[in-house]
């Protein structure tokens, strides 16, 4: 029983992080109908930005509340900028082209970033994984029984940050003018443009927002995993994407539910079956969901226009 509870807690902690990354996928897909394959790699770049900032701050500074805030702010702002440039120079010129071209471009950017960061030329970090500095000092937040169930402070903090970000996003999308514009562009960007909505600006802002979210989620992941490597974006990104598709891509609540479900499924596979099968189970689960509900759990399959 205690073991089950522990797995539930760990699964939820992992799931919230997946959910945050998945939200970025879902937002971009909702607005542009583009699977932003490079999303995970933007996240990875954000983690390295946070890594560099944490080192620059020094040991005492980075574990203070202000230090944590600075690390998150630098990474999120840096990624927002990166997202802006990617959108401006790689995706915007292809907006009226077939969707496949944009998908291939996204894959290209993903490869350029993840393998580019593996080089050890100049400031690039090289392929070896590195230990992420202790931004949040791990403390046991809650211990039940004779260490049967342990809840760490970073689990609570990342859960809190994730929930706050999700609630904020929900508010932004459904209660603000910008969110209204986003939803209009998502519905039909040509008609939205005719109605006077600056579609280019809305899309660019959506990209920046999703990239900033990715950086935040990536930092939480790095705190949990305590290591960073150039390929983490490829794999975490893929998982988060699976989460987004399970929930129904383009659907905000779906991404959250998909992330939590995926986190729990993975945790239970690792806990009760073999940890080496984790990736296969994640993808198997995805295929299963898609076969039963081709649009994901919350998505609808739109009737195709002829």
């Amino acid at each position: 029983m205690a073991q089950l509870l522990q797995h539930l807690i760990n699964g939820l902690a992992a799931g919230t992080i997946y959910a945050l990354v998945a939200l970025g996928y879902t937002m971009v897909y909702g607005v542009l109908k583009l699977i932003n394959f490079a999303h995970g790699d933007v996240m990875m770049v954000g983690v390295y930005m946070g890594y560099a900032t944490a080192f620059a701050l020094g040991r005492d500074m980075r574990s203070s509340l202000l230090g944590v805030a600075v690390v998150f702010a630098v990474a999120m702002l840096g990624c927002a900028l990166l997202g802006f440039f990617i959108e401006r120079f790689a995706y915007r010129p292809l907006r009226e082209k077939p969707r496949l071209t944009a998908l291939i471009t996204a894959i290209g950017i993903s490869f350029a970033l993840s393998y580019g960061f593996q080089l050890d030329i100049g400031f690039l970090p090289g392929a070896a994984p590195r230990a992420f500095p202790e931004v949040i000092e791990p403390v046991e937040w809650l211990v039940i029984g004779d260490r049967d169930v342990v809840v760490w402070n970073w689990q609570v903090i990342s859960f809190g940050i994730a929930v706050a970000l999700m609630v904020g996003l929900q508010y932004l999308v459904f209660r603000t003018r910008f969110g209204q514009a986003m939803r209009a562009v998502s519905w039909d960007h040509r008609v939205a443009a005719l109605m006077g909505i600056p579609t280019d600006r809305v899309i660019a802002l959506t990209f920046m927002l999703s990239s900033a979210l990715a950086a935040g989620a990536g930092l939480l992941y790095a705190i949990k995993d305590t290591s960073v490597s150039p390929l983490m974006g490829l794999y975490v990104g893929l998982k988060a994407f699976v989460a987004a598709v399970i929930g129904g891509i383009g659907h905000v609540q779906g991404a959250v539910v998909g992330g939590l479900v995926l986190g729990l499924v993975e945790e239970f596979v690792v806990g009760y079956a073999a940890s080496t099968w984790r990736d296969a189970v994640a993808f198997g689960f995805l295929i299963l969901v898609l076969l039963v509900k081709p649009g994901g759990l919350f998505g609808r399959v739109a009737a195709e226009k002829v």
């Binding site: 496949l100 471009t105 894959i107 290209g108």
Partner: protein, 354 residues
């Protein structure tokens, strides 16, 4: 999007119809024999040429699904892995068996071809299984399912004792030869070209251009999509099996998402739908790192830069994709074949059927 002209049956020909289909094969065999003889004492060159050949098979076969049918599949390395492992295990088990009525070398080759075909068929079965979801999934979703499938194959291989887990298989008899690789290159290209010219190919093109319209015109879209997957994965399996029989060791690391993407880059660079484009792109991209390495060594950049070629390769592929999509989204040849874009003064084949 331009489609090739509809083939016109040619009535006048000196060769009887029954022989005409066999003619390419009969022409290919002596050429391949000569090729094998030339390559016999150049181990590195024949290794390199075999890799080029395997990549050509992979690119041309992926082109059947990605290019001709327009179903974006990004798990091709998974099918390759199935072929490589199944045929590798088979060859390992048949290593000490020989057909008594044949000489050892010939008997080895017979077993080799058998294991190739078994590997190809196993991959084709997997292709059938992956093709089935395409009954319900379209576009991006199908791409993700193929990606997931490729990853599942890798994890399964990594966790199966019979496949050597993460260490992979070693000691597979090295029975492959450049001539054998190129015979299958030839077969793959022949099949791909025959498909383009057939009514089957028309249906694939129709699905690529507009699936809903194709269905409305009475094309059995799901049937054709599944068939395209089966044919494509069969040849990917063959390519994997060939690969397993000339490299000393195969392991799950050779068949990751990265390998799938390498093949996608080849197809996209050549032009989605162009068989000759896929061949040229596969050859170019396989030889490029070697060429760069030799160039750097020649220029005297000892060690550092020449060693970094493999590191630089992947980011360069990524940027290549981006630049290509921005500058020339249809790839080098688009949907055309090389003879459609050659200058006018070079004598051409008759238009239509190639």
């Amino acid at each position: 999007m331009e489609t090739p002209a509809i083939p016109v049956p040619q009535a006048r020909s000196a060769v009887p119809a029954s022989l005409r289909g066999l003619l390419p094969v009969l022409l290919a065999l002596p050429v391949l024999a000569l090729f094998q003889w030339l390559m016999s004492d150049a181990p590195f060159a024949s290794y390199l040429l075999s890799v080029v050949g395997v990549n050509i098979i992979l690119a041309v076969s992926l082109n059947i699904v990605n290019g001709m049918t327009g179903q974006f599949s990004i798990g091709h390395a998974g099918f390759m892995a199935v072929g490589a492992y199944i045929s590798g295990v088979l060859s390992l088990n048949l290593k000490d068996v020989a057909l008594s009525f044949l000489s050892v070398a010939v008997s080895d080759q017979v077993f080799f071809v058998v294991s190739l075909l078994v590997g190809g068929l196993a991959a084709a079965l997997c292709g059938f299984l992956v093709g089935l979801p395409s009954l319900r999934l379209r576009g991006d979703y199908l791409a993700i399912v193929t990606l997931g499938f490729g990853e599942i194959i890798r994890v399964v291989v990594q966790n199966t004792d019979a496949f050597g887990r993460a260490l992979g298989l070693s000691g597979i008899p090295q029975t492959s030869s450049p001539a054998m690789v190129y015979f299958f290159v030839f077969l793959t290209v022949l099949v791909a070209r025959r498909i383009t010219g057939s009514s089957h190919g028309r249906s694939l093109w129709a699905i690529r251009e507009d699936e809903v319209a194709a269905e409305a015109m009475g094309v059995d879209t799901t049937g054709y999509k599944v068939r395209a997957f089966v044919i494509s994965s069969f040849f990917a399996g063959i390519a994997g099996a060939l690969f397993a029989h000339f490299v000393p060791i195969i392991n799950p690391g050779s068949f990751t998402f990265v390998k799938s993407m390498e093949i996608v880059v080849m197809v996209v660079l050549g032009g989605l739908g162009s068989t000759t484009g896929a061949i040229i792109a596969a050859t170019f991209l396989t030889l490029l790192p070697e060429g760069m390495r030799s160039l750097f060594t020649l220029l005297g950049a000892e060690g550092s830069l020449a060693q970094k070629v493999d590191q630089i390769r992947m980011p360069v592929y990524g940027l290549l994709l981006v630049v290509l999509m921005l500058a020339r989204p249809q790839g080098l040849f688009g949907t055309k074949e090389i003879w459609d874009v050659l200058p006018r003064w070079i004598p051409r084949k008759r238009r239509g059927l190639a």
